[in-house]
Symmetry: C2
């Protein structure tokens, strides 16, 4: 298998996983701190999806760390296939959740003018949580493309 930026068991791969984990956890933290987030299904779905991403990225970060410490390779076809499926499922769910939440926030802010009309409505927090979710998704998309490339180029 080729050696690419972000390959499993490499320092760059570990960096990507830590980034995904940190941004997803931050997104959950900001969203949970926004008063009344549970009134919208899309925001609850964002928390669930980011929760799944936190678990997945944290698990793979531990695996990368173990591989780096013990100098073992994670690049065997079965493991990479497993990473590909997990990465793709998680990344599609994350993009869908971030987009659905963005759609709802834009509806509140631009179409219904809730953000200006209701001073205590936490629009800023919703926007920050969604921006963090998009950053986390972008890092996951990089990982999933690298995994798919590794699998295809065997």
């Amino acid at each position: 298998m080729k050696e690419l930026f972000g390959s499993p068991g490499k320092a760059s791969g570990l960096g990507l996983r830590i980034g995904q984990f940190v941004f997803a956890a931050a997104s959950i933290g900001v969203m949970v701190s926004a008063h009344g987030f549970f009134n919208s299904t899309a925001f609850c779905y964002l928390i669930a999806s980011m929760g799944l991403q936190v678990l997945w990225s944290f698990g793979l970060a531990c695996l990368d760390l173990h591989a780096l410490k013990s100098k073992r390779s994670l690049q065997n076809p079965v493991l990479v296939s497993l990473f590909v499926v997990g990465d793709w499922v998680t990344s599609i769910l994350s993009l869908a959740a971030a987009s659905a939440s963005a759609g709802v926030t834009i509806l509140y802010a631009r179409d219904l003018h809730y953000c200006n009309a209701t001073p205590h409505f936490p629009c800023k927090k919703f926007q920050i949580a969604i921006a963090l979710a998009f950053i986390s998704w972008f890092l996951l998309a990089v990982s999933s493309h690298v995994m798919f490339w590794l699998m295809a180029s065997v």
Copy 2:
């Protein structure tokens, strides 16, 4: 290059492109016929994104048809790279648009109870348009994965 289901210049590839084109056009048609769709930015974005998908898929369907008729191969690295970039950009935009619209529709239907409270609110049409957009995105996702696989396995 390998011969895969949905490769460019093959009958299966042409079928996928026609499916993407038809479902995206149907999604636009249903959304435009829903009264008041322009009040939500997400629904306008869905129409723009499906419009882009219609143009892209129609263009590639014509190219596939031409390749099939003239028995020419479209599988050269430059063309496939171009297809990969176009497919990925279009498919990410389509998934984001369909998810944003789904988030807004769920907000209307489940969270704000607009659909039951306002008899003339075209919730059913919004739902049908979004379902068609998701089908179109799924077909495009198949094409984009095949293209990426072809590019990676050169």
